[in-house]
């Protein structure tokens, strides 16, 4: 954490809308090597639940949007060793960190990690059976959430499934604490969106099939599985 540039982190909330993408990339470029710890303590239970709910089968073509430090991507490689696993992150440093980490563990995997802006995905239409994204939408503004969902729909085959993990909003104390963090460091924390996501996902051409909540310590998560409508 010593190399963190605080001037990048401490950014005013009223600038959130215009600059989140660029700021988020810079912040996550800097925290790439220490990010796995927070994922281990707060996200691993939800990752397991999401994988179980996703119905991903060995041999599928799977895309993870915003791989972060690769905790979920490693789980995807274990579950889908004979399939194709593609992942990306907006931060090139984070994507490179994850590539090195998972390549050591899975040297022969059919996988590709890239640096990609989720609003402009470099994949052909209907390339994937499943798309997974974990704790991403909190960091995107309203327009970018809709652009990202449209791109996910485009790259999913008809009938394919989107599995989303969100930070839960079912604990008032956690929600209030998160609001404070989000105001202080919006590019890292973003803001909570899980109450509004089911509506936005359906608006983008999906049907919500599963919706479950879980908790790891004080940290609430919500998992949605949605099917792409034709």
């Amino acid at each position: 954490m010593s190399e963190l540039n605080l001037s990048v982190l401490a950014y005013r909330a009223d600038h959130f809308h215009k600059t989140i993408s660029d700021r988020t990339r810079k912040v996550y470029d800097r925290v790439a090597s220490v990010y796995p710890a927070s994922t281990f303590f707060f996200h691993s239970k939800a990752h397991r639940l999401a994988l179980e709910m996703s119905e991903i089968e060995n041999g599928d073509q799977v895309l993870e949007v915003a791989t972060g430090s690769g905790e979920m991507f490693r789980r995807l490689l274990k579950r889908n060793p004979d399939g194709v696993n593609v992942g990306f992150d907006l931060s090139p440093n984070m994507a490179a960190f994850t590539e090195r980490r998972v390549r050591r563990e899975f040297p022969d995997a059919r996988m590709l990690l890239q640096a990609v802006d989720a609003r402009h995905m470099p994949f052909r239409d209907a390339s994937f059976d499943h798309v997974v994204s974990c704790y991403l939408y909190e960091l995107l503004d309203h327009d970018d959430i809709h652009k990202t969902l449209r791109e996910i729909r485009r790259v999913l085959r008809p009938g394919g499934r989107l599995t989303v993990i969100l930070i839960g909003q079912n604990d008032p104390m956690f929600t209030e604490g998160y609001k404070v963090c989000g105001r202080l460091v919006p590019a890292f924390w973003g803001r909570l969106v899980s109450n509004r996501m089911p509506g936005w996902v359906e608006q983008a051409g999906f049907r919500i099939e599963k919706d479950r909540s879980t908790r790891q310590g004080f940290y609430p998560s919500r998992v949605l599985v949605a099917q792409r409508q034709a």
């Binding site: 593609v86 590709l112 890239q114 802006d117 402009h120 995905m121 470099p122 994949f123 052909r124």
Partner: protein, 56 residues
């Protein structure tokens, strides 16, 4: 960097969605339509429009 044929087949230019081809020296992926070259750094294709350079 080597990208398998099956993975290269699903990749397109993020801007114009046209086919991309690996440059002969493996340094990047070039769009056949807009001629943007997306660099490959640390074995990672950087498919960000702002990082691409247009080449003839």
């Amino acid at each position: 960097m080597a990208i398998s044929k099956e993975l290269l087949e699903i990749l397109v230019c993020p801007l114009c969605k046209a086919t991309v081809e690996m440059k002969p020296n493996g340094s990047g992926l070039k769009c056949v339509q807009c001629h943007r070259v997306y660099p490959i750094r640390d074995d990672i294709p950087v498919m960000l429009v702002e990082e691409a350079k247009v080449e003839d």
